[in-house]
């Protein structure tokens, strides 16, 4: 009867006493490897393995995510750096190309004993009948209509219209352009005229003259406009017809008119380079 009434209390007291004995025993004999403990540890290890699977997967996924976040950030920075370096590289390339072009233009002064003024091309006109350039120098810089304009490869045209700070250059290939010229090898004289898309033609060269493909064409200096000896181009075709007095000569200018960015205007010419005039222009 007593046991039935106080069963719970007795049990709890027994549990406390058992725990105390267990604690005392484990404190006194710290072997810690009893059978029950071994069973618990065995079971706990299995459960631990079970719990570790999602934990390890989550850790792995999280680590990869962090790694990917870092990669994305690195990638963004690298792309930005590449873009900046590419922009710098383009600037340097442009600078080097510009320096090359200017060096070639300056070599004109050593090659010819003329006075030059450098100018930058600021516009192009590519009409059906006219081919011209706009340059950023004008009368304020001492330019006058008729002055020859050159690049390192040779003459490209002459100034036709002028304002204070800009000038219009009529190109050799403009159909209104006429330049007194001669064949370097035979000294045969004629007039190089623009032919638009067909570059230039050389007119008024007699059939009796010896002109061949590949001959160099230079300015003759007979007019008051171009000094003698400036390179114009090369003979690309010589046509001989049964009728007419003159040869049909096609001339390809040395200059590439599509890619001109800087030019040199001939502002002064030594007297000996002018065949028809005694003054220095």
């Amino acid at each position: 009867m007593f046991f039935k009434n106080y069963r719970t209390v007795i049990f709890i007291c027994a549990a406390v006493v058992a725990a105390l004995i267990l604690l005392s025993y484990s404190l006194k004999y710290a072997s810690g490897t009893g059978m029950v403990k071994k069973l618990v540890l065995e079971a706990a290890a299995s459960v631990q393995i079970f719990f570790n699977i999602p934990v390890e997967r989550t850790k792995s996924a999280w680590t990869r995510y962090i790694h990917l976040v870092g990669l994305e950030e690195d990638n963004r920075k690298l792309r930005q750096t590449v873009a900046e370096l590419q922009a710098q590289l383009i600037l340097y390339q442009e600078g080097r190309l510009e320096a090359d072009r200017l060096r070639q233009l300056l070599s004109l002064q050593q090659e010819y004993q003329h006075s030059f003024l450098a100018a930058r091309v600021i516009g192009k006109e590519q009409g059906a009948f006219s081919r011209s350039l706009w340059i950023n120098k004008g009368s304020a810089h001492g330019l006058k209509p008729g002055m020859p304009v050159m690049v390192s490869q040779g003459v490209i045209g002459r100034i036709t219209d002028i304002s204070w700070h800009n000038s219009k250059v009529m190109l050799l290939i403009d159909q209104s352009s006429n330049v007194d010229a001669l064949i370097q090898r035979t000294r045969a004289q004629g007039i190089v005229r623009g032919a638009g898309t067909r570059d230039c033609v050389m007119r008024y060269v007699s059939k009796t003259q010896d002109v061949r493909e590949g001959d160099l064409v230079l300015t003759s200096g007979l007019s008051n406009i171009f000094p003698r000896g400036l390179l114009i181009g090369r003979v690309s075709h010589v046509g001989r017809t049964d009728f007419g007095l003159f040869l049909q000569i096609n001339v390809v200018p040395f200059a590439d008119f599509a890619s001109i960015e800087e030019v040199m205007v001939v502002t002064g010419v030594p007297v000996q380079d002018l065949a028809g005039e005694k003054t220095v222009k």
């Binding site: 069963r7 719970t8 209390v9 049990f11 709890i12 549990a15 406390v16 058992a18 725990a19 105390l20 004995i21 267990l22 604690l23 005392s24 025993y25 484990s26 404190l27 710290a30 810690g32 009893g34 029950v36 403990k37 618990v40 540890l41 079971a43 706990a44 459960v47 631990q48 719990f51 570790n52 934990v55 989550t58 850790k59």
Partner: protein, 179 residues
Amino acid sequence: MIYYLLLPFAGIVLVVFQNTLANVLFSGWLTLELSLVLVIYAGFRLDALKGAVLAFVTGFAFDCVSGAPAGLFAIIYLLIFIFSFFVSLRFAAEKLALITVFSLACSLIESALLLAVYYFVFKFENLGDMLFAFILQALLVSFLSAGAFYMMHKMERFFHGQTRQFPRRAAAGRISAQA
């Protein structure tokens, strides 16, 4: 009977789970004592026999897994269970503020007992460094207890239509949550 058969396995699973969770969340710096929350809950909700067995088994499993001397957590959990049991005769489990404070007290008592054992029996020094961790742990347990009691209260209402009242706990002098 099935309760007593499954209890050891459930206790081991719970202890291993709380250790794994603590390792993931706090890198082992703090112990997430869900087992203590369970023991407090048992003190308020289970009958004395079932609760005492639960406290003893869970404590013993914790001893084995944590590497503490066998019986240390078993007796601490048993004492906390008995303390909770007697407190539950006077206070209702629905009062969450009370549960929070009580759990905080239980956790601090547990920490004090542990410190005492390690200081007097094992002659450990520099236990003051562990005080901060124990205080944080006590706060954590108190909030977890409040959450656990609230969830269990909701579940009991969901399954039984109202909060279960054990006959033993219907003492005349208890303070109701609705009071």
